[in-house]
Every structure is written in C-alpha cells, then in structure tokens.
C-alpha cells in the first residue's frame, strides 16, 4: 500500500504562482493527474541554455533552507511557467528506485556552492532570477544562525531516459570541530560528488570528508571543476586523486560549474552510478536527523532522511536518543525552500516542525521513530556531544552577567553541543565555564555573544578536564586552572589522552612527526597506504591538541594532511600551574596548566606575547610568569613617551574629540588588572599564540 501511495501526488497542495508555500490558500488539485510523466514536466537542458549564459555570477553562494516564501516574479512568461511547473512537479513522488541521495564534498573555494547552484538551476528547482534573493536571504540567515547553518538540502527533479528521478542534495560542513555532523549527513546519502579544483588538486578538508564518505559506503563520483581556467591540469589532478585517495578516476567528470560545462554529465552520473535507497517503507519508521535549527516562531526544525518506513503529518513521533515525543505539526521537503507535503517515505529527505523547544531534544544523529509503532533499534552512529575544550567567559561589565546567561541559554536552544555552568573568579567576577566541540566552535560562540547579544567578554585560555587526585584520597575533576587544588594538596594529576591519526603525502611525514613530538605525542605507528601516502598514529594529550594543532597540521603539510582523533584514556602526567603577574598582580584568567618540561617555553612565550598585546601605560609595567612564587620568565613594558599633540586649528575641536572618544572607548574594552589596562585581545590572543610558539 505504501509503495503504491508513493506513486501518487502528495495530497498537500503544491506551491502555486508567486508563493511557493501557500499552505492551503490556493490549491491546484492534482489528485487526478496520473503518474508524474506529463510532458510539461520535462524540458531539455538546452532550453535552459539562455539562463545558463546569464548566470555568470562567481560569488560564493550557498543554498540554505529558507523559512520564508520566496516570490517568483518572472517577467518572462515561459520562464514563469517552467518554474511554476518545476516547483510543482518536484514534489511529486517517484518510486524508491528513482531516488538518489547525494552530497558534495569539496575543499573551500573549489566550487561546491557554484555547482550546487547550477544543479538547482538546470533542474529548474530555482531560477537564476531568484538566486540573488536567495543568496541575500541566506547570507542574512547564516549570520543569524551562525554555526548551525552548516547543512542544507535540496530536492530536485531530473529526467533520465524519459523517467523522472528525484535527486536530494545534502550539504556538509567542513571543519574537524564538526566532523560528527559531517558523518551524519554523509550517512544520510548513498553517494557523493567529490569536487576537486582542476588546478588546485586534492586538499586536506576534501580528504577527511572523502574518507568519511568511503567509511559510510558511499559511491563517490570524482568531478574536476574549473576546467575552463587557464591553469587547469585535469590529468595531473586525476592522477593525484587516484594516488592519494585511491579512487578510480577512469570515469571522472570534467566540468566547469561556472560555465555550465559537464552539468548534464554530472546529473546523469548521479542517476547511473549512485545506488537508490533500499525500499524499506514497510518497516517501522526510522529517520536519521542530519541537522536541526531553532526557529524563533516554530521551534526546532529538524532535517532528516527517512531510512525505513514513512512519516506523515500529524504522526506522533519519538526521538529515540532523547526520549522526547512530539506531534509532527508540519512535514515538508527542502527544494530548496521549505515546502509542505503530507507524507515522506523511506529514501526521502525532508523536514519536520513539531514545536520542539530545544535542539538538544532533537540532536543530529538521533533517530526519529513512530511513537505507536516503534523501531526496535535506533540507527547506528549517534553520539552525545562531548565538549572537548573548556574556557571561562566573563562579561567585562559585571552588569552584563544576567544578559550573558540569557544569551547562552538562547544559543543553547540552537546548539546542543554548547555546555555551560556558572563560575566566579576573583579577578574576573561572575561568568560561565563553557564547553565546546573545539576552538572554532568556541570562537563562533564568543563572536555571536559579542555581536548578536552586544556583550563585551573576556575569554580565558582553553583547557581540558583534568583529574586531580588529592592527598586526602579525593578525586577532583578540574577544567579550570584557577580551580586546581593547591600544590600541597595534590598527589597527582591525570589528563585526557587521544589517539590521533594523520593521513599525509610522504613529503610531510617528517614535519608532522616533529609537530607531534613537540606536542608530547607518543609515536604509535606508521604505514604507507599508497606509495606516496602514509598514515601516522600518535597518542597525545588532548590539551596539546585543542589549540592550533589542526592549523599547524594544515600549514606544515601545505593543506594536504588530514587528521582525526578519538579519546582513549586518562593518564597521569607531570603537570604544573603557570601563573602570570602583571605589575605584580596575579591575572587568574591567564593562568594555565602545562607540562613541567614546557613551563619555561610557555612562560617566555606568554610574557613576550603579553608585552606585544598590552598597550604601553604611563608607567613601566613588569610582566612575569611564575610557578608558585618562582618567577620563570619576565618582560617589561616601557612607559609611553608622548601622545599625538594635535592642535585644534581654528577652534575645530571635532576631530580631536573624536580621537579622544575613540581612545576612551578603547579603554572600556580593557580589563583593569591593578593599575594596568589589559585589552581583551590579550586574553584571547594569548590562548592561541601560547600554543603556536611551543
């Protein structure tokens, strides 16, 4: 029965005319239309030649799901008709074996967005005219939604050998902080396009994601983009892909998304080479969540891929990991804006809105099932978000503490990985200890708090969770240097260790081994995957990795190495607390826990960096790094000699006043440590640079 149903139109009204989403207002009844093979459904690719030529925008653009309806106001009657038809028809159901779910894997700037745009355009999903609007809307949305806008999906309709196919594009984020999210969206696909810039070649980000794709048994189709550029060397890059990734490139597609070359071939290859989803619509519902975001008006919107069974509007659904159940108020597909449908079947991709209050209740990787017909087992691969990096966030202005709490609570609605708890510090006052997936995640959250919530914050150096065994037999978990039990009370400290695997072209093996050794890494093994590529395995303290390890890895390997890591155990280590004194006053937020062997180099680096970052004061300021009371590094900041002594010519004081106001505003962004004004940047930059100099 279910399979039959799929062949018919959704009973939900398709979008019409100017409004793609007009729930129930203007209804074109398509109930009696036969299988979606009407003539108007098809148009040759050539018919879109003109719009292809018009389309020469080279700016980066992404398609994101937009909750607003987009007006289609075409002046060209035939375009309007084509769009209206496409808009309508892409909601039509096709048999499961005519569905293709795929993602695009590409390094930044290798043309993923341009290719995605082109696919949408050629399949008539979006017209070039609307793309601008979409671009703008989505850039705004991206700004509003920050990191959670990391995945997007689009349903397209494509005719191959006279048969209509439904293609679902699922996009992926690209930073190691979010590798879990990438793995979930890849798990929602059967295939992936590997897009490589024909002049740049394979790069690290690509590698990490291709391996994730291969792990998920995805069919990977190599695509060489930008072949129209003068520097393109598709043959060299093909060889590289074959050597580095070990992927058969005999049928790699040469394309130029910008010029519209090879798009047809790509669409054909998607249909020919990517396997269809298995037809398991008869089983109990299991749908994989690959993204979710918080909408202020509708609650959490969940993006998912139906693996088994079907889900329809009004169903009572259960999130298997969080244990929460809801009624599905709205079900729809992303094409690329949200369009409501009544039901979705195994193999399909869509969204649900169910008045869910927080994204923590519908986490990426969770399985949606039917409340009254539960699946026996949830889908594999779900992981709780484990914060890896911790830091303190303190408002510069103590009055902003309640605002900071509200802001963090709001961000958490949309970011299940963000954890926080209140913290007090003698130097910084009231604030929060926050946990993040990684350094990028931390920076994004801090920036959003500052920009969107207008808070001025001080961020302390990132740290991991240490386990401190005390003399009295107690074990204390401590992620905050200032909360570390005193030296006399500690018996030993354990720190978390990770296993790290790096894949690198053989030329960079030496450099990466050096890096790992510098970071207290213990060599565990090396094997050559191909003649030119090796896998290096190390065990290393997580604390050594949370900072800029990834950035270092990329820069030392010219971007070719990739890495992944996993927690293995807690291990005892010779760690000490390093304090910083500015003008004789201790600055708690600058305290760090370091390995004894590294204390001197960290101390030197810290004091030198602080000397650079703290503006000169009207008096000489000593900057010291200490272990207990022992000073191990010291710098001093000389006094300022003079200001700009501008005259106020002709009584025109406006310029001078503006300058002084700016100077006064600058002081406000500083934290007074005793008599010394320390800019926030010092707190922020020190935590990164301290790692860099190691």
């Amino acid at each position: 029965m279910a399979t039959n149903l799929k062949l018919f139109l959704s009973s939900q009204p398709p979008p019409h005319g100017n409004h793609h989403r007009c729930a129930g207002a203007t209804i074109l009844n398509h109930h009696h239309l036969p299988i979606p093979l009407s003539n108007r459904t098809f148009y040759s690719l050539q018919a879109f030649g003109s719009s292809t030529n018009n389309y020469s925008r080279s700016r980066r653009r992404r398609f994101r799901v937009c909750s607003k309806a987009i007006d289609v106001q075409s002046k060209d009657a035939s375009d309007l008709e084509a769009t209206a038809l496409a808009g309508r028809d892409r909601l039509l159901k096709v048999p499961t074996d005519k569905i293709r779910n795929f993602s695009i894997i590409a390094h930044i700037d290798h043309g993923k967005s341009t290719l995605a745009d082109k696919l949408l355009q050629v399949t008539g999903t979006v017209q070039s005219r609307d793309m601008k609007e979409q671009f703008l809307d989505n850039m705004d949305l991206e700004r509003e939604r920050g990191i959670t806008i990391k995945l997007q999906a689009a349903r397209m309709r494509f005719a191959y050998e006279g048969e209509p196919y439904c293609l679902n594009l699922i996009d992926t984020p690209g930073h190691v902080d979010f590798s879990y999210e990438v793995s979930r969206s890849l798990a929602a696909c059967e295939g992936a396009l590997l897009v490589v810039d024909a002049s740049q070649g394979v790069e690290a980000q690509t590698l990490a994601n291709v391996y994730l794709a291969l792990e998920n048994n995805l069919e990977v189709i190599p695509v060489l983009n930008k072949i129209d550029l003068p520097g393109a060397e598709p043959n060299r890059v093909v060889q590289e892909i074959e050597e580095i990734i070990g992927l058969d490139c005999s049928n790699a597609i040469y394309c130029s998304a910008k010029e519209g070359i090879g798009i047809n071939e790509i669409l054909n290859a998607i249909v020919q080479r990517i396997p269809p989803p298995s037809d398991s619509a008869g089983r109990p519902l299991r749908a994989l969540i690959f993204d979710s975001y918080y909408d202020a008006y509708r609650g959490v919107i969940v993006y998912f891929r139906v693996i088994d069974g079907s889900v329809k509007k009004g169903d009572r659904i259960l999130f298997m990991a969080s244990g929460k159940d809801y009624f599905a108020d709205e079900i729809g597909v992303l094409s690329p804006n949200q369009q409501q449908v009544d039901e979705l079947y195994a193999g399909e991709v869509g969204y649900i809105s169910a008045s869910i209050r927080s994204v923590a209740d519908a986490r990426v990787g969770d399985t949606i099932t039917n409340y009254s017909r539960k699946a026996e087992q949830s889908l594999p691969g779900y992981k709780e978000a484990t914060p890896m990096v911790f830091c303190g966030l303190f408002p510069i202005d103590a009055d902003q503490f309640p605002d900071l709490r509200d802001a963090l609570e709001k961000l958490q609605l949309n970011d299940a990985a963000l954890k926080f708890e209140p913290e007090t510090s003698s130097a910084m006052g009231f604030g929060f200890r926050c946990g993040f997936l990684g350094l990028l995640h931390m920076e994004i959250v801090q920036e959003r708090l500052e920009r969107e919530y207008n808070l001025s914050l001080i961020t302390t150096a990132p740290s991991v969770v240490y386990r401190v065994h005390c003399v009295n037999g107690e074990t204390v978990e401590c992620s905050n240097p200032s909360a570390l039990p005193e030296q006399g009370k500690r018996k030993s400290i354990e720190e978390p260790m990770v296993k790290i695997e790096m894949l690198t072209p053989k030329d960079y093996i030496g450099s990466l081994m050096e890096l790992s050794q510098d970071r207290r890494g213990e060599f565990k093994g090396m094997k050559f995957i191909t003649e030119n590529r090796a896998a290096l395995t190390y065990e290393m303290p997580l604390a050594e990795m949370v900072g800029d390890f990834f950035d270092q890895l990329k820069s030392r390997s010219k971007g070719y190495a990739s890495m992944e890591y996993s927690f293995i155990e807690y291990k005892e280590s010779d760690l000490i607390k390093l304090d910083v004194l500015i003008n004789g006053d201790g600055v708690e937020p600058l305290s760090t826990i370091v390995h004894k062997d590294k204390a001197y180099s960290v101390g030197r680096a810290l004091t030198q960096k602080l000397k650079e970052l703290i503006p000169r004061q009207m008096f000489k300021v000593p900057i010291q790094a200490c272990i207990g009371t022992k000073v191990i590094a010291s710098e001093s900041l000389s006094a300022i000699r003079k200001d700009v002594l501008a005259k106020c010519y002709g009584g025109d004081i406006s310029r001078k006043k503006k300058l002084l106001k700016k100077q006064a505003a600058g002081k406000k962004r500083m934290k007074a440590i005793g008599k010394v004004d320390v800019p926030q940047e010092a707190f922020m930059a020190v935590l990164k640079l301290e790692k860099e100099v190691l």
């Binding site: 003079k642 009584g651 006064a664």
Partner: protein
Amino acid sequence: MLKSTVAPMLLTLHTKTKSNNFLTLKAATFCSTFPQNPPTVRRNASTNTLTIETLETPSYKLPPASAYVHLPFCRKRCHYCDFPIVALGSTSTETADDDPRISNYIHLLIREIEATQKTQIDQHPPLETVFFGGGTPSLVPPKLVAKVLETLRSKFGLSLDAEISMEMDPGTFDDKKLRDLIGLGVNRVSLGVQAFQEELLKVCGRAHGVQEVHEAIEIIGSCGVRNWSLDLISSLPNQTQEMWEETLRLTIEAQPNHVSVYDLQVEKDTKFGSLYTPGEFPLPSDTQSAKFYRMASRKLGEANYNHYEVSSYSKSGFECKHNYTYWINKPFYAFGLGSASYINGTRYSRPKKLKDYTNYVKNLEDGLIDCSQVDDEVNEGEMAMDIVMLSLRTSKGLEFKSFIEDFGSEIAVELCKVYEPYMKSGHVLFLDDQRREITEDEFSTLVLDDEKLENEIGFIRLSDPDGFLLSNELISLAFGVIDP
C-alpha cells in the same frame, strides 16, 4: 601672571544649576563701532573687558565676541598639510593682487558674513578678537582684507582694542604690505617659520627658505609689531636634536612675545602620510620627539615664556586672546572655507570644498541654514567632555568648582579618583583655590571624604611637560568618567 590676566576671562558654564555666578557681558562694552577710526596697533594685554557678572545666560549662549576668518590661499601645499586650502601656483605676490580666485573668494566670504544671523539682533557686542587663518592669509591683498574687516565691523562691530591676528608666511609680504595691514587694524602677526634649517623647510615643501625667515622677522621688527608669534613644528623628518636646539635658540633671539610649537602630526592624505609612519625613521622616535617637547618647554621657560597651553608659549600678558576663547569654551563665529564655528552651544563646520562652500553660502543667503540654531538640548555629557578636553590643554586647568556646579559633584569626584594614580606619578596636579599645589599626603586624606574633596580642590591641571605630553591619554580617562 595667568591668574591676573587670563583667569578673569574664564567662564563659568551653566547647564542645569542656576546660580548667581554667571559671567556675561558688561553693558558698557556694548560700544558702538568706529568705522572711520580704525584702531592702531596696540598691546592687547590690556585690561580685559569681557568679564562682568550679570545673570541668566550661560556664556556659551552669549553672542560671540570672536571671529575666525579662513583665507585658504597658498602658493603650494606643504607636505604635512591637510587643511582646506587653495593652491595658487607660483604666482608672485605682485600679481596676486588681482588674482580673480582671491577676489571671488573674498566676495563669497563677505556674502557669508553678511548673511550670517546675529544671535542678538538689538544689542550685539563688538568683536574683541578676529583671527585670519589659512592657508596663507598674507597672500591676500590688503585692500581685500580691508573689505572683510569692514564687513565684520559693520555687521557686528569691532572693539577699539580688538585683537586682530593674521597668519603670515615668510616671503609673502614686504614692509609696505605689513604697514598696510597694520593700517587696517591688524595688530598681531603669527609668523609661520616652522624651522630654521634649509633642509627641513625643503622636506616640508615650504615655499620659503631660511633667508626669507630672517627677512620676515626683520620686517616685523621694522614695522613695530610688538605682538607677534613665531610658529614652529617639531619632530620633522630628519630633524636632529642639534637642529631643534638651534631652532629654539634662534627663536628666542628673534624675541617674539609668543611662540607656538606644534608637534608634527602625520595626516593620512598628505604627502607625509604616504611617505612616513609616526615614530619611524626618518621621523624621530616617540622618545626623541618627547625629548624635543621637553626641550622646548625648558628652553622657552628659561627665556621667560609661559607654557600656557599644550602647544603655546607666551611672554606675560601676550597669550593669544583669540585662541583662548577656544580653550575656555567661549562661542566664536567662523567664516570661510572649512571653518568651524561655535554659536549657541552648536559647533558647525563649513564645507571644505570650494564648490560646496559656494552652495553653502547661497543656502545661507536663502535662509536654509542656521548654524547658530538654539539647541535647547545641548548634550550635557558632550559639553562636559568639551570643557575637560579644552581646559586641560591649558596651564590654568579645569576649574573644579564651576565644573561641579555645571555637571554635579558625582562626576567631579569620580574624576579626582581616576586621576589619583596620575597625581602620584606626577602627570596631574591638583591645586586649591589659591592655586597652591595639593600634596600627595593631603590628597590621600581628601580622597577619603567626597565633601572635603569638593571643597578643597580648586583646579585640576596637567603637569608641564609630563602631563601635557600624555594629554590624550589623560583626557580620554576623563571621557571614560563622563560617559561610562
């Protein structure tokens, strides 16, 4: 000396507290104009006629008694200059007499003066100071200057002993021209020497050499101008300590009764801006230019010049009255390209481009602009910032009592507390009402009791040279108190 001559000029400003202690103009000074009887050059350190107490109006709302007139013409643009100027090219001073660019501009300027609304129609006090700035005002033919003065006189009146200053550059005037100008009433000359070294003048792109400097000083002497200022720039590219010492020595030998020393400021859109970075070779380091500043303060002090403002020195009684109106937040008119006026508590800058300025004058004539609009809501914080930033540039400093009256004791006390460490470091001085310096020990007792602090402190000033050198830093601290 400052107390006797300058202190009476200082205003008390009132925005909220109505007290009986306002300084307004004495009715007797509303003297009529004497157009047929131009005043002779005279010392302007005479008794100050501006200060008599009456009730009501805060002084920034009084009709201005000062006018700045911008004469933008230069032979060429100096390499450090970003003022609104009009470069005439290598036209000699003779032919400049009938340069239509000058006469057209003067015509426009006169139209602006005439179209300007007087703040008090019935009883406008005569102007006490006029300042011709530029540009190089001495390039303007005296007969055109006469027209400007005439217009000012008939419009606002011009006090008999008004200070009429003009900026003049070496090489742009001779004996006759200066005598003509004196005849018109100009009684103070501000001579733009900048440096006494040929190579430095050349680096600056000045249109004159050292020879012209000496000639100009001689002309000023021979014409009997006693009230004149020698203007210098310190921290020029490649300037050495020896050069600066020589410059200060020659300056003192020239015996001006006023010296301005401007620390070179590298502005973005100037030739210097494209060539140099402040503090980097060939510009002197910050330490070096601080040394230059200290040296000027010491040498000029030894030669009996009072360092009465961050960049101004004068012999007793020869402070520039006009510039002092700026430091004490008094209102002033401004006319001409890019000039900034301060009327009724409103600061207004004219367009910096000639075309825009022409349109501005037209609009003014059509009644579309009123730059003296009475703004009922003069922002108190902005006003407090103006007063702090201007008064702390002077050796007299901030008048504490009137600051309390105008802005409340909370801010005033807070200001003292913010400055406490800088008092200890010697950058800020607290003085009592008799201008005796309050010692560190005394202060530490005062600071415990807000009321005592309010009663005992009379003035806050920056020390010379340490506090002056860091005036931005110190003033911006005060801004932080006023606008937290």
